[in-house]
């Protein structure tokens, strides 16, 4: 039986924010990147790469075991199409998984996590414990990735510990 709940930091993750240049359609960026660029709060997965829609023409791109120059490479690939900012150090990503993960998140974010409303590939930019987060559902276990600005990690952890202890 899997653990009812586990929380693991996702280290060695390449992270970049990508913003389309004026008049560039998502399809053009999509063609250059080889990943579907969602036009809504959705996450798409291709290999170790995840693309999360965070706003109109704006995405957060993460890559597992990324090379240190991940963002620079991305910038070259998207030259003229999009602006790229390295956020590999900016965000800390926590992976929450297990049957209780849905309840844990439901106690943090004012987002409907019912499977009919939020399932694999759903994403949201919201707030947990007064901390801004970007989060997306990875699978139906369920597994969620929660990205927050790195400086908030300890405060987020405090909320998580209290909430999990109260399960």
């Amino acid at each position: 039986m899997p653990d009812p709940f586990s929380a693991e930091p996702r280290n060695r993750l390449g992270i970049a924010s990508v913003m389309a240049r004026k008049g560039i359609a998502a399809a053009e960026i999509c063609a250059a990147l080889g990943a579907r660029m969602p036009d809504r709060p959705l996450a798409t997965f291709i290999g170790g790469r995840t693309v999360v829609g965070t706003g109109p023409g704006t995405w957060l791109v993460t890559e597992e075991d990324a090379a240190p120059d991940f963002a620079e490479t991305l910038q070259q690939v998207l030259a003229g199409l999009a602006s790229v900012s390295d956020q590999s150090g900016g965000y800390a990503v926590q992976r929450l998984s297990g049957p209780a993960a849905r309840t844990v998140l439901q106690r943090g974010a004012a987002i409907d996590f019912h499977p009919t409303a939020f399932s694999t590939g759903s994403a949201a930019t919201t707030v947990i414990a007064h901390i801004g987060i970007i989060m997306w559902q990875v699978d139906e276990q369920p597994t969620y990735d929660v990205a927050m600005f790195r400086s908030y990690s300890q405060s987020f952890r405090h909320w998580l510990n209290q909430t999990v202890a109260a399960l």
Binding site: S17, M19, A20, R21, K22, G23, P68, D69, A71, E72, A82, S83, V84, S85, D86, Q87, S88, G89, G90, Y91, Q106, R107, G108, A109, A110, I111, D112, H114, A117, A129, H130, I131, F149, R150, S151, Y152, S153, Q154, S155, F156, H158, W159, Q162, T163, A165, A166
Partner: protein
């Protein structure tokens, strides 16, 4: 003991012991504290608020105004807890309130003798004069007498959880209507949340002898709850009170998780705050029975008829031996029958109406007098011993009894429905106020909608449940329930003239006379009346008193009740603990903290931290033996200026501004020009608000033709980001420019001092740090430990200095590396205080100067304002008041007597001028003791300042000390030629 040998929803095999005022009693699983006290013949529970009258238990529900006790002891003691909704647990400790020295003998009861002066408006009239008495005498006196229970004054040891609920239908209340609505909608597949405040749903079905589909009511409720619980789309929340309705179909509720338990484990939350977003909601909160207003109606032993039925039927607890029932509604007659069935003798049933609603043979046979067209005018004794009745024929009669059950009729419990501001309107049919306009998607059902009879309530629940399903396009089958139509009418009786005090608001001790007084004194608007008499303003929000009060006011002013109107109810509908609303956000976790990558390293270095917004920044790094922070800061400054110091400046805001039009946008944001900046160079910039006042400053580096790296002050980081987004989204959507906050991406360390270049040459081998390769205000990219890194030749300290940036994931490694190498150079960590001293020594600006009141001209940057381009704030900055050359402008200040201190905030006045506002010429913005020049220095804003260097001025500080004479000077105290930064 007054417990029936059988019956009731209590588990006689589970005996629970508890104490009340130190005396031990026992009850059963399933009891409330109130029912257990009833069963133990405890009739005196507390003393009233103003007159300290002895009070018992009035109701059996959450509307209780009298039976308020302090539950538990120590830090967990909770005052003003309603005994009627406190589930009994083993070891429960309860204490009575508002009495001294004891409940039975209370010294303050003497207030009753002075009742004629303690009327409504007493405080307003009495404590008026002399004014000086207010602070010293009146207020402490009032405060001592006010309030009921006392707080423990200890930190709350409990945890409070939070959850967000989403549903198609929220059903508020689990009585017959609520259960029917939830079942109908749940079977149709809707996502349903059913919130019921009781320990078990059922509402009146638990308290009355009712049958549905030939099943006893309580058993029927249990079956329905079992079915609902089994449905995956239904969430049944017991012990949960919905206490507020808000915009956007949001509801707040409290789920009581451990309040009914004797013991909890340490992390177990006591209560959970629910924020529920519901497409639709059914208000099935039932109705609250009105007391009758007659003399002595507050005496222990006088209860509502529904309370009597509840104690007798649900708890098998007998509140008396010989009862008198005084009722103006049909339900009271059922109470009389309930009493008979439980073996309590009924002396009389008194009804002001002329005919009995039921055949009264059983009552007559049992010896009860049926007194129609009669009124009970006084209850006598505490606890009650007898009553005086005004008979239909005008005679008076006394009847001995130890229990009075009074029933004035039913008020639909519609409080939540007016949370959003719609005033309920009077219904002649229901003889009560009902919801007219409701919050979106919100509808009342059953007794809450004035449909009191059981079968009506069930049908109404079904109808509303089905309506919710149909609104969502989901067909619903409407279950049919067979239930009898019990008599449920009545004719309100608002007032009976008696000899004793007749209470309307029990918790706030408001009597019929107070209401008459309010009307006489002109407080005739329903809202003025409420505030003048305080009726309905106690913690029970007047659930039992509101309508009686409004009816009496209407009578006193010659209006109909419909004309007099009623008040609105505000959230919380029931009292909630403040800890519930705070959740985990208390003490040091009141708000989140932000830590830089060097945080743990800084802790290990003994840093003292200071708050900068949410950031924790190292303020200084004290060493053993240093006697105060001044000594520490002086050392940090001196070691930096003479050697090398390192400071974490990661908290500064950082924004990537990218795109072909990035330079064009920056030209419009800043007063100076960035389009002319060459790649690999940084420039200091100042931006204004729309109104021409300085908003923020910082350096911006051009990393590529279409790529700028903007920095902001720490506190303005989010504001500048918003400002940039506003400019590119709203002001100039045509520009092709993108912006992203990268504050958190980079850990940045300022390495400052004459030895900084040598230190970095060793720490970052392979980078050319020479003046030729990296002159002042230049920047370069490099790689460090494989990661992208940047170095900037910038200086806030005025020394030869570099800022090194690496991804925050490498920040901890870099700080340790820098100090490892720095050992050879005796490198010193310095905090924000030393940073501040060094920037004042250099006349650099910070938040004290960028204070939201200063113009670029005030701060000596008038010439930076480009005349060749437009920028935000340009036009407004040219307003005569802002462009006035005589405005207070930036100067330096040095005390004439160099042993003196200057303090920030002090005012600047001509030496001979009177110390009055009329002669005020400016103020000190920043001040410190400078270890570099060896005396105090300060920056200030002085009228015509730049033209007054060399003048003497008085620094006037009436708050913290005597005046200091100072000399006005150039605001750059150290290296005014700027030689060091270019070293």
């Amino acid at each position: 003991m007054s417990r029936s040998p059988n019956g009731g929803l209590i588990d006689r095999s589970k005996s629970l012991s508890f104490t009340f005022d130190g005396t031990s009693y026992s009850g059963f699983e399933g009891d409330t504290l109130a029912s257990a006290l009833v069963a133990n013949d405890v009739r005196l529970i507390g003393r009233s608020f103003k007159y300290h009258r002895p009070r018992g238990i009035l109701t059996a529900g959450s509307e209780e105004p009298n039976a308020l006790i302090t539950l538990r002891t120590g830090a967990r003691a909770e005052p003003n807890t309603r005994a009627t909704v406190t589930p009994l647990f083993d070891g429960l400790e309860a204490t009575s309130q508002n009495r001294w020295p004891s409940l039975r003998f209370d010294a303050m009861a003497v207030n009753q003798l002075f009742a004629p002066i303690f009327v409504a408006g007493f405080y307003y009239k009495t404590f008026m004069w002399p004014a000086a008495f207010w602070e010293k005498l009146y207020e402490p006196l009032i405060r001592r007498a006010a309030g009921l229970g006392r707080l423990s004054m200890l930190p709350d040891p409990d945890h409070y959880d939070r959850e967000h609920g989403f549903c198609d239908l929220l059903v508020i209340g689990g009585g017959p209507a609520g259960l029917a609505a939830a079942l109908t909608a749940g079977r149709a597949g809707l996502r349903v949340i059913l919130a019921d405040e009781d320990v078990r749903p059922g509402g009146r079905l638990l308290a009355e002898h009712l049958e549905i589909d030939d099943t006893p009511g309580a058993a029927w409720a249990e079956l329905v709850v079992a079915e609902l619980t089994a449905l995956p789309n239904v969430n049944v929340l017991g012990r949960t009170t919905v206490f507020g309705v808000y915009d956007g179909c949001e509801y707040a509720a409290v789920e009581r998780l451990t309040d009914h338990l004797a013991h909890t484990y340490p992390a177990q939350p006591r209560q959970r705050l629910w924020k529920i977003v519901a497409k639709r909601a059914v208000l099935a909160t039932g109705a609250i029975e009105r007391p009758l207003v007659f003399g002595g109606n507050d005496r222990p032993g006088v209860m509502t008829t529904s309370a009597v039925s509840t104690y007798v039927n649900r708890f098998a607890a007998l509140p008396g031996r010989r009862a008198v029932v005084f009722t103006a509604s049909d339900s009271g007659w059922q109470t009389a029958l309930d009493l008979l069935a439980a073996g309590v003798s009924v002396a009389a049933v008194i009804d002001p109406r002329e005919t009995a609603p039921i055949a009264a043979e059983a009552l007559l046979k049992a010896g009860a007098d049926i007194l129609l067209g009669a009124r009970l005018c006084d209850a006598i004794g505490a606890p009650v011993r007898k009553v005086e009745v005004h008979l239909a024929d005008g005679r008076r009669r006394r009847i001995a009894c130890d229990l009075v059950a009074m029933g004035g009729g039913w008020n639909p419990a519609i409080g939540l429905g007016s949370n959003m501001g719609a005033r309920p309107i009077w219904s002649d049919a229901a003889q009560s106020f009902l919801l007219d306009q409701t919050p979106p998607g919100f509808v009342a059902a059953g007794a809450a909608a004035g449909r009191l009879a059981l079968h009506e309530a069930l049908n109404d629940g079904v109808t509303q449940g089905a309506a919710a399903a149909e609104a969502l396009g989901m067909p619903a089958l409407k279950p049919r329930f067979a239930a009898s139509d019990e008599p449920a009418s009545g004719r309100p009786l608002w007032h009976v003239l008696g000899r004793g005090k007749a209470f309307v608001d029990f918790q706030h001790d408001v009597t019929d006379k107070d209401i008459a007084l309010s009307a006489r004194e002109g407080f005739v608007s329903i809202e003025h009346f409420k505030r003048y008499t305080t009726l309905g303003m106690a913690t029970d929000q007047g659930k039992t008193s509101q309508l009686n009060g409004h009816a009496l006011l209407a009578a006193a002013t010659g209006k109909s009740i419909a004309e007099a109107g009623t008040i609105l109810s505000r959230a919380p509908y029931q009292p909630v603990a403040i800890g519930l609303l705070a959740g985990p956000h208390r003490e040091t976790h009141f708000r989140p903290e932000r830590h830089t990558a060097s945080h743990h390293w800084a802790i290990a270095q003994g840093a003292t931290f200071v708050d900068a917004g949410q950031w924790k920044r190292a303020q200084w790094f004290a060493r053993p033996g240093e006697k105060d922070w001044m000594e520490t800061v002086n050392r940090e400054v001196t070691m930096t200026r003479n050697g090398v110091g390192i400071c974490d400046v990661s908290t500064l805001g950082k924004i990537d501004v990218h795109g072909p039009d990035a330079a064009a946008l920056l030209d419009r944001l800043y007063i100076n020009t960035f389009s002319t900046l060459s790649i690999g160079k940084a420039r200091y910039g100042v931006m204004l608000r729309d109104d021409g006042i300085v908003m923020d400053d910082g350096t911006t580096t051009r990393l590529a033709e279409d790529s700028f790296f903007v920095t902001t002050t720490t506190v303005n980081a989010a504001r500048v980001m918003q400002h940039i987004d506003y400019a590119r989204h709203v002001l100039w959507p045509g520009l092709d420019v993108q912006a992203t906050s990268v504050t958190e991406q980079w850990s940045t360390y300022a390495v400052a001092g004459p030895h900084s270049r040598a230190l970095l040459a060793q720490a970052l081998p392979g980078i050319d740090l020479s003046n030729e390769a990296l002159p002042f205000m230049a920047a370069a990219k490099f790689r460090w430990n494989d990661a992208p890194a940047r170095i900037f030749r910038l200086s806030f300290s005025g020394e030869l200095a570099f800022e090194v940036s690496v991804p925050a994931t490498h920040g901890d490694t870099l700080i340790r590396h820098l100090f490892e190498i720095g050992r050879t150079f005796d490198a010193v960590p310095y905090g924000t205080e030393a940073l501040g001293v060094m920037r004042i020594e250099k006349g650099h600006l910070a938040g004290n100067e960028l204070n939201g009141m200063t113009t670029a001209g005030d701060l000596g940057m008038a010439r930076m304002m480009s005349k060749k381009k437009d920028f935000i704030g340009r036009v407004m900055a040219a307003r005569p008041g802002l462009a006035d050359l005589k405005r207070p402008s930036l100067v330096g200040l040095i005390p004439v007597d160099q042993s003196k201190q200057i303090r920030a905030g002090a005012h600047l006045l001509p030496p001979d001028a009177p110390r009055t506002t009329a002669y005020d010429q400016g103020y000190v913005t920043s001040a410190c003791w400078s270890p570099t020049v060896g005396h105090a220095i300060a920056l200030g804003l002085l009228v015509d300042g730049p033209n007054r260097h060399g003048e003497r001025i008085t620094v006037h500080d009436p708050v913290r000390g005597a005046d200091v004479q100072a000399e006005v000077c150039n605001p750059v105290f150290v290296d005014p030629e700027g030689v060091r930064v270019r070293a």
